[in-house]
């Protein structure tokens, strides 16, 4: 206890005439010190909240994984004058904590103590923290529950194939990204129950959705059936076409009846020896060959062989016609009659 403010009667007894005397030599000192102490305390009290409230969460994104963990990504504005920043985590089961500066992307050193992370910001004004947390999800039976009391607005990406079956708060916005639902939630406590199932496509028009599944089989099935039947019929027709060639056999027989080379040679006694060879070759091949076959057989250039067959044509020994865009050379069977 400060002796200067102790009651005087304990130090000096009252005088006999009954007058009260008080020591005044310590009063000025007390009057100066007390306001200074009080002012110091007020300054300290005001400064502490200012320091802590200087940081602010710019973004907060949560991703729920199918194993029940939640990935937290948050961008935070911090005091660039402070060397450290104390971050309150959303639980104590933390994995894979990473903090880095936004501008440079350089990693920052971190000490995690329970549910606090001390980040060495080193003059950074904005940092990003990334970590996995296991305290936000619980499971009972097949129902998973996400419970979170957020200090700021945040986004929440649900796991793939999850089906939300209960929400304590309604989201500010909702999107479907492939098979995942992303919710924009406001600050405050929220609880979301979900199970794993199959998420349907967004049904912008329910009737179209019905048409896709129900009617597709009924429409496409008969079309495919008709197509198959048509294809089978066409194939059968194509397979029947060789029979037409069989019908042409009498023609081949008539071809076989074409004049034999000796008859031709007797009727055209002045025929050149190389032309006779051509006639023999044509006769041996059923009475008609392609001009290209003749060139291959006799190893003659195109012009030479063309002159030869044209010479035979002029002698009425062969006739030339187009078949499959090639010149077909055929022995005539009416040589004797014409002569």
């Amino acid at each position: 206890m400060n002796p200067e403010i102790m009651p005087i009667h304990r130090i000096e007894p009252l005088l006999e005439d009954g007058m009260l005397f008080v020591r005044t030599d310590g009063i000025p000192e007390i009057m100066i010190k007390t306001p200074l102490i009080l002012a110091g305390l007020i300054v300290v009290a005001l400064t502490m909240p200012v320091q802590t409230s200087f940081s602010s969460t710019r973004t907060l994104d949560l991703i729920i994984h199918s194993d029940g963990s939640t990935h937290v990504t948050s961008e935070i504005d911090v005091d660039f004058l402070a060397s450290d920043f104390e971050l309150s985590l959303f639980g104590s089961s933390i994995d894979n904590f990473v903090a880095f500066e936004v501008i440079s992307g350089s990693l920052l050193s971190v000490d995690i103590i329970e549910d606090k992370a001390i980040v060495a910001t080193l003059g950074s004004s904005s940092i990003v923290v990334d970590y996995d947390i296991h305290d936000l999800i619980s499971k009972e039976g097949r129902i998973w529950t996400f419970s979170f009391d957020s200090p700021s607005n945040y986004s929440l990406l649900m796991p793939e194939n999850s089906v939300i079956v209960g929400m304590s708060v309604l989201p500010n916005n909702m999107k479907q990204i492939d098979e995942q639902i992303k919710l924009e939630l406001l600050s405050g406590p929220a609880q979301i129950d979900y199970i794993f199932g199959i998420i349907s496509e967004p049904t912008t028009n329910p009737l179209e959705y019905t048409l896709d599944f129900m009617t597709a089989g009924l429409i496409i099935g008969p079309i495919i059936t008709v197509s198959i039947v048509a294809a089978v019929l066409i194939k059968r027709k194509q397979s029947k076409s060789p029979q037409i060639h069989v019908v042409e056999l009498p023609e081949k027989q008539s071809e076989s009846k074409s004049l034999d080379p000796e008859t031709i040679f007797s009727l055209r006694s002045d025929l050149r020896e190389d032309d006779k060879e051509i006639v023999k070759f044509i006769s041996e091949n059923g009475g008609k060959v392609f001009e290209s076959d003749l060139r291959k057989k006799f190893l003659q250039p195109r012009t030479t062989m063309w002159r030869a067959v044209k010479r035979l044509e002029r002698l009425d020994i062969v006739e030339i016609y187009k078949k499959d865009l090639q010149n077909m050379v055929k022995l005539r069977n009416d040589l004797e009659e014409e002569n």
């Binding site: 309604l170 500010n172 199932g197 967004p202 329910p206 099935g221 198959i228 397979s239």
Partner: protein, 116 residues
């Protein structure tokens, strides 16, 4: 020829299976019909394919405040007072299929645009 015929037969069988609800898995085919919508709430009729393994169905509305749910043993339900998310026309519902032992067979999330 045989390959084409076999391929065609395969497609035919596949289309028959896909098109026939009797061969469909639980909640493969869901039809949603918005009967009326007055910008606040709607009546929604949901119909799904028959599944011989399923004995009970739970249908719920998550975008409704408070959340609501119904049970049925049939393959359709009419849901009244379905409300969309705030500032939106989209409602979020779900259907869960249970077997005779009350175990979940399958579940589907339904996001319905009530304005269409």
């Amino acid at each position: 020829m045989k390959v084409i015929a076999s391929f065609g037969l395969l497609i035919l069988v596949a289309s028959m299976i896909l098109g026939n609800p009797a061969f469909a898995e639980s909640l493969d085919n869901i039809r949603i019909l918005v009967l009326n919508y007055d910008d606040n709430s709607a009546t929604v009729k949901i119909t799904w394919n028959y599944d011989d393994k399923a004995t009970n169905y739970k249908i719920g509305c998550v975008s409704c405040n408070p959340n609501t749910e119904k049970f049925t043993t049939g393959n359709n339900i009419t849901f009244n007072n379905v409300t969309p998310f705030p500032s939106s026309s989209y409602a979020m519902l779900y259907v869960i299929t249970y077997d005779s032992e009350n175990k979940i067979i399958s579940a589907k999330q339904l996001i319905v645009d009530l304005s269409q």
